[in-house]
Subunit: 217 residues, 2 copies
Amino acid sequence: MTTRPAGLREQKKQATREALRTAALRLALERGPDNVRVDDIAEAAGVSPRTYNNYFSSREQAIVAAVAGEREARVAAAVAGRPRGVGLADAVIEAIVDQYTAPDESARDALLLIVTRPALREAFVETTTAIEHPLTDAIAGRLGDGDPHTARVLAASVAAAVRVALEQWLQATVSSATAGGLVVPSGSLPDLLRAALAPLAPALDAAEQRALRHRRQ
Amino acid sequence: MTTRPAGLREQKKQATREALRTAALRLALERGPDNVRVDDIAEAAGVSPRTYNNYFSSREQAIVAAVAGEREARVAAAVAGRPRGVGLADAVIEAIVDQYTAPDESARDALLLIVTRPALREAFVETTTAIEHPLTDAIAGRLGDGDPHTARVLAASVAAAVRVALEQWLQATVSSATAGGLVVPSGSLPDLLRAALAPLAPALDAAEQRALRHRRQ
DNA sequence: GAAAAAAGTTGCGTGTAGGCAAGTTTGCGT
DNA sequence: ACGCAAACTTGCCTACACGCAACTTTTTTC
């Protein structure tokens, strides 16, 4: 579905990208993010520093990409994969909660690293915009391609809501970190996501109803 | 209303900011955006280059800021200023259409400049996120402070929809430019804005109803 | 299967973003 | 009115992003 004919070229590109981001994360964890030069990352991944910048347009991007991974694609697939019966709002909300609540233990200490550095936090929050395009397609698929504009706006809004939830979560995390104990848990991300997405449910449902009505006629 | 106690300090800051962005725009128009160094802008505004970066975190920001101006504040004020009777969705949509359709003739050639340079276009589109905070307050004011979270999500979604509309408008503009004739008009921005915001109306209305019901109890 | 075309990598050079610490200006309490 | 504290400006310095043009690798075409 998501995998195209392959081609050696594309394989290498993905491999390089993967090598860069894992190298970036590993080095950041080993020495702390401030002691990692892009030269180091490039060297660890076996490419030139110039090539690094062909893949990532900032040093932070590579690090957060290792955590965010291919979440965009997974979210879109999850939305598309919900059974026909469930409403659009439920499909979207549950798909997102699922994908952002992956039991990814390996990411725990990485997130710990991210929350403490403002630049990294910002880059991490920025990753939410990456879900817009896949999500647009997924929503358009469910709405029946009547009006791609609507799907795009809804996807952008959903991404914005996710961003809001992440910001709240990070803020809670960092304040609980400075407040005292071990950091990890903070407010429950799933709850924050649901709360942030809830106000958009009427818009999603309305679009779905409109699409249905339109198709009948 | 929006003007605080003043204070000489704040005045100077605003003056510097204004000087920087007008200088940036003037120079960009005179010589073309690629022939403007931040040193030039700083010099024209009478500050050090280092100070420039205390105000704007990229060269493009200053140029687009001259066009975007204080639109954030105006949008928020316009939303807050609509009569109590009109629904939230209408208030928001009309306020935004008004503010983005200012008959600002002086901005015409500036926009012409912006659409042609990808970096400037991106920076211009990014300015939409600036309306989020003021708009959050304005929406929260209309919803009655019952749940500030909802206002924030709605504001972020509205900003996202505006961004989508701007992207479409810029794309239409640039393609009509490469296609042939004089550039300026392209698709009607007001129409694009209304179309992009329409799918969010149900969410805005639902929030308003909820707030009303909540207040009655 | 070889040659042309397309896509990707790399080094170089220029301009830029931002941390830090010292110097300057503004605001405020007394 | 005075002086202290906080906020802003500035120069210096390091690392970084990205255009460009030459070169290498993969893909396509005949």
